[in-house]
Symmetry: D2
Subunit: 364 residues, 4 copies
């Protein structure tokens, strides 16, 4: 059951990197939402491999098909099954790795967990699993946008040691983000990032990076006390994305160095509602959204699969040198942008539906 | 249902800061574990208020009573109910705050969520809720220690801008941590931290900090693929603790600045198992423990309730100045150490039981 | 986690027959409902032992205390903890049964499951566990009644082979039911039932019975397709009550003998809504309520604990004769009436909240 | 989330009667079980339409494809996605029913629940949804059989008023059941049942029936106390099957008429374990299996869709006469036999995995 996410808008992903395909079943999507494949495809296109020279060369069109749950272009309220076929598998590439666990990859831990060789190419640990999340997230985003005007924008803030200057959180859009292949909205920083990634790729090495995400127009009241706080759900969602190592919201780790008198976000009147003058809280207080933008950052490590030779041991403990083959991203953050957005959407749609229980209106 | 945590070892906490008491129901604890109140009290004592001049002066003995689930000092496998009575409530202290939401506290968001004034003193957003977690976590720790030899040690790494030097992760114990009231194992750093907290308290202000935690002797194979990765569960657990703003595992945010060739943890033979030379992974790969220590850090913001006057607005949007009364911690990290340990224990016990499903042994 | 029930209105019960007490934590109750102990006590009084000569002589006042989740007589939306103390335990009565598993009781199966002697008196298999359900159910009933005008009435339809004539399902009330100690609304049948139970008690034997329950004013649309159909949830709820052996809804087992042309409930106009001329469906079609009364029946076996000598074997397999001591009900159905009502309320409140997600109103 | 079943072996079904296809995602199946499509197809063949003149004439081969979770004929421990394509949809048949809700069908209640016209042909309320259950159940059966020797046999006990004589519960097999198209193991009763169904079909009418099911070699200890008792889980599972109206275990409703002294199942020594002389308990005591066969019965109503004209009203409340078209079963029980078996298997596999948590063996 670890492949399911969400309490009321519940997504179950399935499929392996080198099996027939990958997909998701979405249970709990409200009825009466207009939906077809063209609502979902754009985010899959932003996630798909081979979209630029910065990404793996594996050629997958990643065309989504809606198998159920939609009739005449409207959701029925019943489970929506989504499927993307795999077309360019090359399991042969992984032969050497069957006997040598890749350092910092999941080969060893899957073996220890299941006692069976996971499918070549990473199995469920493959980034390909995230297709189901992105497809489901696109549905969530459509609901959030149409019902509440919520929008969710993520971008690459850092690649290796190259960091972008602050962006205008209130106005940045996906067009700004997609102006460069690396998905950093600052043009000159983007150029440097692209060069760094290309250099690392040529060197057979890989780079990490940081993604920032803002969720705007989130109504106050989302998030559940105690264990299902909004930031707790977001942290779980983000740390469930492959290759992530950290999450921070609002002031984050820097906030730990501040004094209460400078960190506290004073309330002010903003039209009909209360707002805050600063946003160190990152849009959540006590685990519940306060109406200000939700802002968080996610750290991604450099991909584990590199072609540089690595001294390590095989499954039997014998010394060896691994030179990994296969087609891999030298840096995952450009393609991870829609994944971060999708997981944020899955968190927010679930919290939104959970809060509806408290709406005043009774049934009928 | 947001007050429950865990899939197989399931904890439900209840109670408010100024109600009759707080507690937890633990459902799913295996039978046959020796247990009585003295197994639980020590961690509650480390969490309780008024334990030093660094903490709130609210006087609570926080004596735990086991109400059910244990017979003749042994767990029965049935739900264990745990209760701690409140004795030193002073709801009157909170009168002003009923009309003025404290900046960066949960007063405003609870009102927006529930449409009802939360109980004075923070209600479920109060740190007092964590008593149930610590009591349940102590049971989880006992099971993990007896069955697997797992131990979990957290300590204060940073208070404000004061940072401790690296500690010996393999050997640090709770005795080392508890040598100072601030729970930083480095004596000279601890002194500086204590002075800083006292100064902040005197100034009516508050400080943030960072806690580091290590979980040792964790068997390989814990953590579930995709959404219930070990790091995802830990991130959720930690961000569900009041006042947290960030989580990172292993290399964390710093890892995002590294190259794959330096970040990858090469495998080596360690006795009968494989281990790694470095531990940038923080003990998890692909969401599953690899047998190395699990290491993570949690950022806490400075407490929102300060006695310095704050310019803000009341619930109606009228300008006002808030001077908070009530008894509050100037810095939460010393008391948060056992909370971090407890939440880590709740994550690990659940993942341990989930992995038992895959053990070879059949029933009987 | 098997002591929790419900998805959105989630009840966790705890406690043993001969421990400190029993209770429940209710997570997910909406805020703003007026609530105090007097709303809960009446159903506990109908459930409590020693209420008449038909029931066990164990003397328990079963006074409920609300420990949390309610402030100034209003629910806060946070977990409501409920507690009833045990006062008249006599664990000594059960000494013999520690070595001899009572036929058709849970002694043997608990031993096989947990590998530990369950607490004397049945532990979690004791009917005393149902106190938590009844207390939680009373809260659910209050919500259902105030928000939707739903009422739930159960009564004893059959004791042993004595069956009551049909009752007026649309008008029967709890006053009618409680006119006799056996809770059968037909006075002359009630007399016969009482005599039969007294005879069985004098003979050291026990009797079974059947309870009928009607839920009125249930809005159409409750129940979730596929696995969480209203009748599936009710069936699970009822078969989770100790001593139950069967559940049927609407036409039930008799419906299996009918033809479609006689079984189908034709639609007619009933005011603003559609209704049906007959109600073989029992108020649900395709798992979802249709606005007609929900009607179901629950079969209870004769209690396993009897004082007549029984030839059986002890835990070691040695032949023996068991003459059970302890204080036991000769027939559980009179006291099971409020338990059936409470479990029905817990099912309906959960389905009601789940359906609210589909209400048109958006948040705020 | 109402399309998911199970705690540890979790099945999510998807698809509609007249969409692209139907299927299931199985999350939590243990790794290392040999599995391919031929393990699943036989039960689907027993469930499929047009298998005899007793069933609907809709022509569907119902060939299953495993899309993920299996590599080289072995389960990986990751989600198994299963898909069956629809080929013989005729949505046009349902045109009239879009304006007239079929009596005792789900047309009206789905409309009331979702506020949108469900897909023609019943949508998720269609019996076609059960394909996903049967496919998943076949995997569960394989695990239960290989690991524990558990087998599960269901058969038709009653059609309309025609009832089969008692069968040999300990020895009956699927071959015995499948000797007749009606799946009643008694040849002469089967003939009468077949004649009755053919007559009803010719008359445009439909018949109900009762299925009995026995689960053998179930180890003692399965089932969780309180809400997840084995009989509670079975009752929910069975009442989630379309057209069911009742469930009873062991003595069932007849048990309510017995005295304790005759109903109690005395213990005897059976080899190394304790067994019982009678089995009124139906294999469960206190919600937990006792090692005796689990025996239960399920009542099915006559199908709602009949071609006889029915006086009813349309969605607007106007009087009308419905003459249903479409291809429908005159009696569902012959095809429901594998569905009952599959749902029993899904319950038992989940309880088995949950009990493994209590096995003595530690991880590794």
């Amino acid at each position: 059951m670890s492949s399911s996410f969400g309490t009321l808008f519940r997504v179950t992903t399935f499929g392996e990197s080198h099996g027939h395909g990958v997909g998701a079943a979405v249970d709990g999507c409200p009825p009466g939402i207009s939906l077809n494949e063209t609502d979902i495809q754009p985010q899959l296109d932003r996630r798909r491999p081979a979209q630029s020279k910065l990404t793996t060369s594996r050629e997958e069109a990643d065309r989504v098909a809606i198998l159920s749950g939609v009739d005449n272009g409207m959701t029925l309220g019943t489970p929506i099954a989504l499927m993307v076929k795999n077309t360019d598998q090359r399991p042969g590439d992984y032969r050497q790795m069957r006997s040598i666990p890749r350092p910092s990859h999941a080969d060893y831990t899957y073996q220890m967990k299941y006692g069976i060789q996971a499918l070549s190419g990473g199995g469920r640990a493959s980034a390909r699993e995230t297709i189901g999340r992105v497809a489901a997230g696109a549905i969530a985003e459509k609901f959030l946008s149409e019902q509440y005007g919520i929008d969710i924008i993520a971008w690459v803030n850092t690649v290796s040691t190259i960091e972008a200057p602050p962006v205008d959180m209130l106005n940045i859009g996906r067009n700004d983000v997609d102006q460069s292949a690396v998905r950093c909205p600052d043009a000159s920083t983007a150029e440097k990032m692209i060069a760094a990634i290309e250099n690392a790729k040529d060197a057979g090495d890989s780079l990490g990076g940081i993604i920032t995400c803002v969720c705007r127009n989130v109504p106050a009241g989302l998030g559940e006390p105690v264990f299902d706080k909004a930031e707790a759900m977001l942290a779980r969602a983000m740390l469930s994305i492959p290759a992530t190592k950290g999450f921070e919201i609002g002031s984050g780790f820097a906030g730990a160095r501040m004094r209460g008198s400078e960190h506290n976000d004073a309330f002010v009147k903003k039209g009909a509602r209360l707002g805050t003058t600063t946003n160190n809280s990152g849009g959540v207080q006590g685990g519940i959204s306060n109406g200000e933008p939700i802002i968080f950052r996610v750290a991604f490590k450099p991909p584990a699969t590199i072609s540089l030779p690595q001294k390590t041991v095989d499954f039997k403990g014998e010394d060896t040198v691994l030179e990994a083959k296969g087609r891999h991203d030298p840096c995952v953050v450009p393609r991870a942008v829609p994944i971060v957005e999708s997981m944020a959407a899955l968190v927010l749609v679930d919290l939104t539906l959970r809060q509806k229980i408290r709406a005043n209106e009774t049934i009928q």
